[in-house]
Symmetry: C2
Subunit: 215 residues, 2 copies
DNA sequence: TAGATTGTTAATCGATTAACAATC
DNA sequence: TAGATTGTTAATCGATTAACAATC
């Protein structure tokens, strides 16, 4: 799976879509799928799918299609999901709570093993099988649990501080829902998930385009 | 503000980022900002910012920069936020609850005026100032309130059904958090917000790149 | 074999970056 | 005026689409 050129972000974002749909196909007992059919299901052109996959190797059979379970396994390895990343969530408001119970995370192999908050009404509660820990003990839990990925759902005002603490505790990647740019050392991956962009896009298209459709 | 060519989605996604930062600048009492400085704050190149803005007009002053409040107002009109869209949320689990209380939505001018669920333990509760209505009354509320945008945070299994009902009630745009492709008539805008893609990307980069950084 | 579908190469399209003239 | 910064045009870069030979 050694690729020469850097893979574009657009490709990386489509891989989980392929993977999730392949899981559904597997559940439905379908063994083989063509790029044509898969594309129909996902609203992606078959050419795009084939191009994406060949970034990593040749997983299909000409004249046949792709073996679902085999392709699944390949994508798991490409994304790196076989190792069941451990995840910690800081800020157990409703959003953090929702994420702690988000089934799709589990299905992708992510294990939430640390929940952190400052609110004493929340600390000690069992959320999706994990007890909420005071955020002052976050470092300790991250290290003892071996948590590698942190999710930040705290208020924006404290997000940077929480990120600093995560980095100090040895977290390697951060997914932040705080609407601001976090500064972290170069070797840490930070992705921001911005819940308000979707609504803004809808506003734009409703305002400016006579009509249209997108997925 | 009539533009000749279709504006790319990439531009549309950056506009809300500009807007939010301009609001912060305004709060801080800063009157003028250059593309250089704004770019620094957002991690976007100044050329990119200027290029994006000139899709819609010439809002800056050469040799000076952009007047913050003026540019704010222009972007509001470009995105179409001046009209204070009314939003309804179907599925008041923790995610729906979180969105109903999400401050940034309000700051962007979105007004949540309808909350819908099937669970009798949730129906009747006051969430962020709005009382949760039985989803069977959704159509009625959407029409009486004049709700134009729907957010779907229900389980995936019922998302399509909810979308159908929203469309039937006259909703124009839908933001869906359900991890599946919704089918709707051509004149309805649907955007999917996929919470698990961020984690998958982090997994990919942690697995495949020696080190790196992204915002 | 004949039909189907991949993987790959080439062509197109679009977005970002660079450069600079215009002008405040 | 001199310095700064925009808006615009040109150059580059990258991603998607199209076409088709390879082959199951």
């Amino acid at each position: 799976m050694r690729q020469k050129k850097a893979i574009s972000d657009a490709v990386i974002e489509r891989l989980p879509l392929y993977y999730r749909d392949l899981l559904l196909l597997q559940d439905a007992g379908i063994d083989i799928i063509s790029s044509e059919k898969l594309g129909e299901r996902l609203g992606i052109t078959p050419e795009q799918i084939r191009k994406d996959l060949t970034c990593f190797g040749a997983f299909g059979k000409k004249g046949v299609g792709y073996y679902v379970s085999e392709l699944c396994q390949q994508i798991v390895e490409i994304i790196g999901l076989q190792q069941h990343w451990k995840v910690g969530i800081a800020g157990i408001g409703h959003l953090g709570w929702a994420l702690a119970n988000y089934k799709t995370f589990g299905r992708l192999g992510f294990r939430t093993t640390g929940l952190f908050d400052v609110d004493h009404r929340i600390i000690g509660q069992n959320v999706g099988g994990v007890v909420v820990t005071p955020i002052v003990e976050m470092r300790e839990v991250i290290q003892s649990e071996g948590i590698q990925i942190g999710i930040i759902t705290t208020p924006a005002a404290v997000a940077q501080q929480v990120a600093d603490q995560m980095v100090e505790a040895g977290i390697k990647g951060i997914l932040s829902f705080a609407p601001l740019r976090l500064s972290v050392p170069d070797h840490i991956f930070v992705f921001r998930e911005d819940l308000s962009i979707g609504l803004s896009r809808i506003s734009y298209y409703l305002t400016n385009k006579p009509q249209g459709q997108e997925t």
